[in-house]
């Protein structure tokens, strides 16, 4: 069973339809109304490396829709440490659950798991590979703010070399005709093979080292964390990291509907003064992970989301 392994598994039409479903499910995600579309279904959470946020987001999504969740538990105590293959672990969970969300340190693990089991797999990150549910929630957040995905000017900033979030989001954005600007220090620039891929897709991309001069024209600024470990010494890090920080005072001339996003956790790349501005959208973005994953699970399990969710659901007293 295939599931969602990379964004290539979805057509643009499917992406839009899943985002439409997600939008209608918002009152359920907020906990205002109850709609047990997935009652009786079990999600197997298979996190081979810790990621509390992503795991909780999947778990909340399933429970809001009336389903249940089982967890692999702490990998340190599990059979995985005793040398069990991914194949064997998957065989077991395959029998216990109706859908599996997984994260694994090795690249290709999600595709491997999908080939090895009968229930759909939701890839929650495989090594430096793909993380399509993150991309879907990013797209949802952008569309929520702009009412569309087409022809926006999106600046991705910070560590673009190692950040898989930025890789897969930029692929998705150019599919919708967005202009993508990569703003990063030279040492952390977008890998050439990814740029080549995007250009081959017909994508319109630009590279710069100057984030601040991109602010005024941007529709979206997507910040990522620059990690200290990537630099030979502290001085080098401070010099570079300083140029990829946003402060409220930098935003005076930004377009009024511009949004600032971040996959979180942030360190210093977004100053708390930005939180109070109309541009900050990263906390909403994190919340959107729940509603997007609700919609994705319905889609993968073949459960239709009613056109009128309010009429189909009940108020939570």
């Amino acid at each position: 069973m295939p599931g969602l392994i990379t964004m290539d598994d979805l057509t643009n039409e499917e992406i839009i339809s899943i985002l439409d479903d997600a939008e209608r499910l918002l009152p359920i995600a907020y906990g205002e109304r109850y709609l047990p579309l997935l009652r009786g279904r079990i999600l197997g959470n298979l996190f081979f490396e810790p990621s509390t946020r992503t795991r909780m987001s999947f778990e909340t999504a399933m429970k809001r829709l009336g389903g249940d969740v089982i967890n692999l538990g702490d990998v340190k105590n599990s059979s995985v440490v005793k040398g069990e293959t991914l194949y064997d672990t998957i065989q077991m969970i395959d029998g216990y659950s109706d859908i599996i969300a997984m994260r694994h340190p090795r690249q290709g693990a999600a595709q491997y798991a999908a080939d090895a089991c009968k229930v759909p797999i939701l890839n929650g990150g495989d090594g430096a590979g793909h993380h399509p549910t993150q991309t879907m929630l990013d797209l949802f957040t952008i569309r929520q703010a702009h009412g569309k995905l087409e022809n926006l000017r999106v600046v991705l900033a910070g560590d673009l070399r190692y950040g898989r979030t930025a890789h897969s989001l930029s692929h998705a954005l150019v599919r919708f005709g967005c202009k993508v600007i990569f703003a990063s220090p030279k040492s952390l620039s977008m890998p050439t093979e990814i740029i080549a891929d995007i250009v081959r897709q017909g994508g319109d991309v630009e590279e710069t080292e100057d984030l601040l001069s991109e602010i005024n024209q941007a529709d979206v600024i997507y910040m990522t964390r620059i990690q200290k470990e990537r630099f030979p010494d502290e001085d080098e890090y401070l010099k570079v990291a300083d140029a990829y920080k946003l402060h409220a005072r930098d935003l005076d001339d930004a377009k009024s509907e511009m949004i600032i996003m971040h996959p979180l956790p942030r360190v210093e790349e977004i100053h708390p003064s930005v939180d109070e501005t109309r541009y900050a959208r990263y906390f909403q973005q994190a919340f959107n992970g729940v509603v997007t994953r609700m919609s994705l699970m319905c889609w993968l399990l073949g459960v239709g989301v009613p056109g009128d969710v309010i009429a189909a659901s009940e108020v939570i007293a």
């Binding site: 293959t85 991914l86 090795r106 690249q107 290709g108 595709q111 491997y112």
Partner: protein, 159 residues
């Protein structure tokens, strides 16, 4: 006598079996390994290595007696000997001519070269799968991790 005829006569003709010609010079041992030929219990094999060639800089010729290789076995050689021409010999004459096809996918031919790929754990039981994404230039990606593969790396990781 042409160069080709001369080289063909360097070894005796076989009665029944398979002749693989136009193997790139020096690659015949790899080819034999990939076909699982040459062990203690193997059929008789004649090898001709580094023969001058019009098509290639130099070529190897392999003759395997009493075994007819099938298309599937031969297609595994696409990585190392894409230009090879193959003759099935019956009663001293060419009964069939085969060429090597590069299929859309190579299953259990070579291992992905990316060190953090899930398939690098040799105990994982699913087959090694490489997808041919483009032919000119040759573009091969791992089915699992999606990484682009270098031919030279793959030749070192033949199964």
């Amino acid at each position: 006598m042409s160069v080709n005829e001369q080289s063909m006569r360097r070894v005796t003709a076989i009665r029944n079996g398979t002749v693989i010609d136009h193997v790139p010079g020096g690659m015949s041992l790899t080819v034999l390994k990939m076909l699982g030929i040459g062990g203690v219990m193997s059929n008789p094999v004649s090898l001709l290595m580094n023969v001058p060639s019009k098509k290639l800089v130099s070529k190897d010729i392999i003759k395997v007696e009493d075994r007819e290789l099938n298309q599937n076995e031969l297609d595994r050689l696409a990585l190392v000997a894409p230009e090879a021409s193959v003759s099935i010999i019956r009663a001293y004459s060419v009964a069939e001519k085969l060429t090597i096809n590069l299929s859309d996918e190579m299953v259990n031919v070579a291992r992905c070269a990316f060190s953090n790929c899930i398939t690098s754990n040799s105990r994982e039981p699913l087959p090694h799968r490489l997808l041919i994404m483009g032919r000119d230039p040759l573009e091969i990606r791992c089915h699992y991790c999606g990484k682009l593969q270098e031919i030279n790396d793959l030749v070192e990781r033949l199964i």
